[in-house]
């Protein structure tokens, strides 16, 4: 199974709800993940020349075997994107990537193969160790050949059967375009239209990877759907597109992300995620992201310019939870359009920046329906020379009677060379709206650290404890095994930031 085809773009795996995360389960999960059971996208192994034009887009669409309507959709997106300019309002500074210097279609990289762990990047192994990943698993993750008895086929099959029985569709976006065109056609670009913003426009024209999920009416998805990896399997798409549709009265919890620092050659990542929660549906979308943040001097690192947005119909609920520790520059505002009456939007976020990282992240809660409610809990942690900004918009439309919002933005500073900024925007056009905003800024005190030290807790652990306490409200929103991993990730991200 280690000769996994080079054209594996993404392998999906599933997790049972609130599964105890034992070593045994983990092993199973990994086997499941590596086994050919996953959904593959076949791509030829050639690479397109750099640059972007209509011809390239046609070729992408052709390579992916897309129907004509999809090609047209991409071209239309490209045409409108050509008239757009890169936004500059975010509180970040970076050298704009040269979009003509990127190849928009290339075969995924083959994972390097090693004979022993000694050949693997020691930094990566160190991270694995801190995450508590076993030696065998470390070997597997870093591509060292190891033999594992394959006994999990039945597990994977059961999962797939369970989903199919309930009519749940969970596959790659490419497959969905071919197999479920009526759903894709109906919903793609309805929440994040190609004209929405510069990077969403670019994504719409050129996306090649991503996932699709449909939960039928009244179905409660029995397991967490996950496109979560501890490490990238085969290089992650630069332009991912995710579409999740929860039909009336359905429920789904979706996880995505990657824990190990993803050293990716692609500097720019511009994903689009669209969530559609129809009447009485609920979507929980959790992300733990750790793109390569650049080195201690701020060299390298990924630009993560993401557009994530969901729409809630009547009595529907969308809940975004994110733990962002990676990327050199982050520009991300998972948002909710509360179109339906009595709909609910939630945003729980932890954003950590260290060294020279910059993050401008937050949310938009657009209240359109009556009795709509939204909650925003944002925890920003800045260390080193980083800059961490919260930017949020709470908008209440003129017909949104009795809209309610509660926002809480807390910042934690470590050291005195970093920055925390809060940019809350409130636009209320209906005077029945109730909007509350609370903000705090605190610093990890020397006295707190000494107190912990005196109890025998070393400084690294003390910081982890304080940071976890600070982030608790958000960590609690994550599925349990995810929360444990996220906690460890916070510790790793802030290592060496005080002292």
């Amino acid at each position: 199974m280690h000769s996994a085809p080079a054209d594996v773009v993404k392998v999906f795996h599933f997790k049972k709800l609130s599964m105890a995360y034992t070593e045994e389960e983990l092993k199973k999960e990994l086997e499941t993940k590596e086994y050919e059971y996953g959904f593959y996208t076949d791509i030829d192994s050639d690479t397109f020349p750099n640059g972007l034009n209509e011809e390239i887009i046609r070729k992408i669409s052709e390579k992916k075997g897309e129907p004509e309507w999809m090609t047209e959709w991409r071209l239309k997106a490209y045409a409108s994107w050509c008239k757009m300019i890169e936004p500059e309002w975010a509180n970040v500074t970076y050298k704009k990537p040269d979009l003509q210097a990127i190849s928009y279609y290339s075969a995924p990289k083959t994972k390097p193969k090693y004979n022993s762990l000694d050949e693997v990047d020691p930094e990566l192994l160190k991270t694995f160790e801190k995450l508590g990943i076993s030696l065998d698993e470390q070997k597997k993750l870093s591509g060292v050949a190891v033999d594992i008895v394959m006994d999990s086929v039945s597990v994977a099959t059961t999962f797939k059967e369970t989903l199919a029985e309930k009519g749940i569709i969970f596959c790659s976006i490419t497959e969905a375009i071919k197999e479920h065109p009526e759903l894709v056609k109906k919903y793609l670009g309805t929440v994040v239209p190609p004209r929405d913003n510069y990077y969403a426009g670019l994504n719409s024209a050129v996306f090649t990877d991503g996932s699709f999920c449909y939960i039928p009416k009244g179905v409660r998805c029995p397991m967490e759907l996950s496109t979560y990896f501890r490490i990238n399997q085969a290089g992650t798409g630069q332009f991912e597109r995710t579409l999740v549709i929860a039909d009336k009265g359905s429920y789904v919890s979706y996880l995505e992300g990657c824990t190990a620092p993803s050293r990716d050659e692609n500097q720019l990542h511009a994903a689009v995620v669209e969530l559609i929660a129809l009447d009485d549906a609920e979507i929980k979308y959790s992300t733990v992201q750790n793109w390569f943040p650049g080195d201690k001097e701020g060299k390298g690192g990924v630009f993560n310019f993401v557009t994530k947005r969901g729409i809630c119909h009547n009595r529907a609920k969308i809940s975004w939870t994110q733990v962002e520790t990676g990327s050199a520059v982050t520009w991300k505002y998972p948002s909710c359009i509360l179109k339906g009456d009595d709909s609910i939007g939630e945003f729980y976020s932890i954003a950590v920046t260290n060294n020279y990282q910059q993050a401008d992240t937050g949310t938009k809660m657009i209240h359109l329906g009556k009795n709509t409610r939204s909650t925003i809990i944002s925890k920003g942690i800045s260390a080193g020379k980083s800059q961490n900004s919260y930017r949020g918009l709470v908008q209440v439309g003129s017909r949104a009677l009795n809209a309610r919002n509660f926002s809480q933005c807390d910042s934690l500073l470590m050291g005195n060379a970093c920055g925390a900024h809060t940019f809350p925007y409130i636009e209320a056009k209906n005077n029945s709206a109730q909007i509350e905003h609370e903000a705090t800024t605190s610093k990890i005190g020397e006295d707190q650290i000494f107190y912990c030290n005196q109890r025998g807790i070393d400084t690294e652990k003390a910081i982890a404890l304080i940071v976890n306490g600070f982030s608790k409200e958000v960590l609690n929103k994550l599925p349990m095994e995810f929360a444990v991993e996220a906690q460890k990730l916070l510790e790793i991200s802030l290592e060496g930031s005080v002292g």
Binding site: Q448, F450, N453, R455, G456, D458, I466, K472
Partner: protein
Amino acid sequence: MLTIENLHATVEGKEILKGIDLDVKAGEVHAIMGPNGSGKSTLSSVISGNEDYQITKGSLVFKGNDLVELDAEERAHLGVFLSFQYPVEIPGVTVTNFIKTAINANRKAKGLDDMPASELLKKIREKAQLLEIDSKFLSRSLNEGFSGGEKKRNEIFQMAMLEPALAILDETDSGLDIDALKIVANGVNKLKSKENAVIIITHYQRLLDYIVPDFVHVLFDGKIVKSGTKELAHELEAKGYDWIKELA
């Protein structure tokens, strides 16, 4: 157990301790008294390893280890415990979680595995009972919104859990009403043994009515100017500190 010789220490360049000598043996209770600003809290900070204080001269030896060379957490691992005069708040971290982290950090330093959850819970229940601590208290964020008395009781609770060889109680009586004072003193007395020692730092002799010291030292202007038995504490209570100044 603890031997302090000619200890000089400064904070922000200002000399606070000007030659302290103190010898504390296992099984003993020492009280250090003195007026405000005499250096009592500085002494506790220096023994426990607060880096805001610099030792400029003298020695500090605990169970054969030169403390000057050790970080605060290493001193804690050896069994030095400070009950803080002003315990800090750590929002979002429960009392239980904090004590669990502390206990396991100390066990790790000794090469032991984490304490099994059942054992930990049993111990927590036992010690909470000893100090008449409500179980709800244990799931609150550490010191956040605690009253003065609750903070001090929580310090002694941690001491009971960690079972240190040397406990320094820095003004533990301040902020305690008489009932709480009795509970805390009772707890300390029950934890006392021939193997451990206690240093009580206090301004008043009130606490010493309940935890009876073997030795009382009077600190003034960075030096121990008089040592004696518990009668000295009564004398101080009656006469105040003014006469001490003349000894200096």
